[in-house]
């Protein structure tokens, strides 16, 4: 690719069968308390 650089390798839809454990942090329990910022939460299902 000359014109496009993709920042991430993994798609949201990859490996969906092993995802969804529900162990990750509730977004408002971090440092926000209002803005429901989910995109920066960590995945606990490593």
């Amino acid at each position: 690719m000359i014109h496009i650089k993709t920042l991430n390798k993994t798609k949201l839809t990859d490996n969906v069968n092993v995802k969804g454990c529900g162990e990750c942090q509730t977004s408002c329990q971090s440092a926000c308390k209002t803005s429901c910022t989910v995109g920066n939460q960590k995945c606990e299902n490593k």
Binding site: K19, Q25, T34, V38
Partner: protein, 445 residues
Amino acid sequence: MIHSFKMNDMYGVIDTNSGLVHIVDEIIYDLLNEESYKSEKMLKNIYLKYGQDITDEAVSEINYLIENKMLYTEETVVGNKIKPAIKAMCLNMAHDCNLKCEYCFASQGDFKGEKSLMSFEVGKKAFDFLVKSSEKRVNLEVDFFGGEPLMNFDVIKQLVEYGRSLEKPYNKNFRFTITTNGVLLDDEKIDYINENMSNVVLSLDGRKSTNDRMRKTVNDKGSYDVIVKNFQNLIEKRGDKEYHARGTFTAYNLDFSEDIKHMRELGFKNISVEPVVAKPEEKYALLDEHVEQLKQEYEELAKFYVEARKDSNKEFNFFHFNIDLEGGPCVYKRSIGCGAGTEYVAVTPEGDYYPCHQFVGEKEFIIGNVDEGVTEVEVVNKFKDVSVNDKPTCNKCWAKYFCSGGCHANAYNFNKDFKIPYEVGCELQKKRVECSIMIKSKLEN
């Protein structure tokens, strides 16, 4: 669905349904604009600007991404795999406060009710409920909140000890956090917090003038001089453990990036500053008319942030510019929203359960109590059907898997409808996502 944007000499393209983020050059940006690459008429203009060979090359790259489901990816409906189970708690240790912050959603600490402190017995019952209701979930989150939780410090210590005693027998891992205004912090409390809390949230709004305008003592004096030195003492002793200096910006400090820079100068390296949640009639509420200025402010902060991250002496971490494109939450988590009422509850000193801390005091939102558990199923159900794809506006939004539908309390405050998000919040969230991607792109280079 895609979203393309330009910022700081960078062109970004987000493919919503795959979550892929592409950094592109100007010709790709032009070709994707109104899907010009598909239209012979529009392509002619691109040929004129860039030449036919380069244009054809760029179009073939776009087609490659589409064929490999990396652009204009169709939605994959994944359903609700995560079974609701309450595993996070906000414990309102004190419905009382030693500050009277003007914007406080807790009505200066008492949540529109009597001043009160949570007893150990109420907290203990809440923990027993949490262990049971979390079913197979291992990680449990408890935030000691208020009012000001340090007004009830002895009970916090008892509850931490009790929570730890439950871990082995029930195969649980308690993660304790505390959110404090800092007034009562002394060496004893700091040492205890640093030893026992996995995260600590330190409330500070930034510059002295900003902080003291809203965060006043009961005698109408500013709190800055007292709390800053206490917070600095805490972080100096905290080592590498997680903390956030957390502020709120309002219509009074639309230039909030200056507050963030000031917090950095005070020595805070982990900073979270958020827009106020307020009813529109409040003088300090953020309204539509503020959005463009606030977006510009985020953009300027993002440019400053890129340069700061390159210099170890100036480096800091701004919570809302963090974005994990590889190891972030799965699509299930991104779909279900914040979990208020279904994964998360707030507990009052009297033992009532609310869907989240923002609803405490609005009695029609009580969902149960420590003696009877969750009893108000109809109220809980209101929070079950509000995943990001249940909300018509969100379902069509490119940013939906970054915010997961936004804050229910904001939606309710402004629109009286959980399915209609607070538009100012949406606009700011989208801008933060764009900033985060720009930052990531610049730092990778």
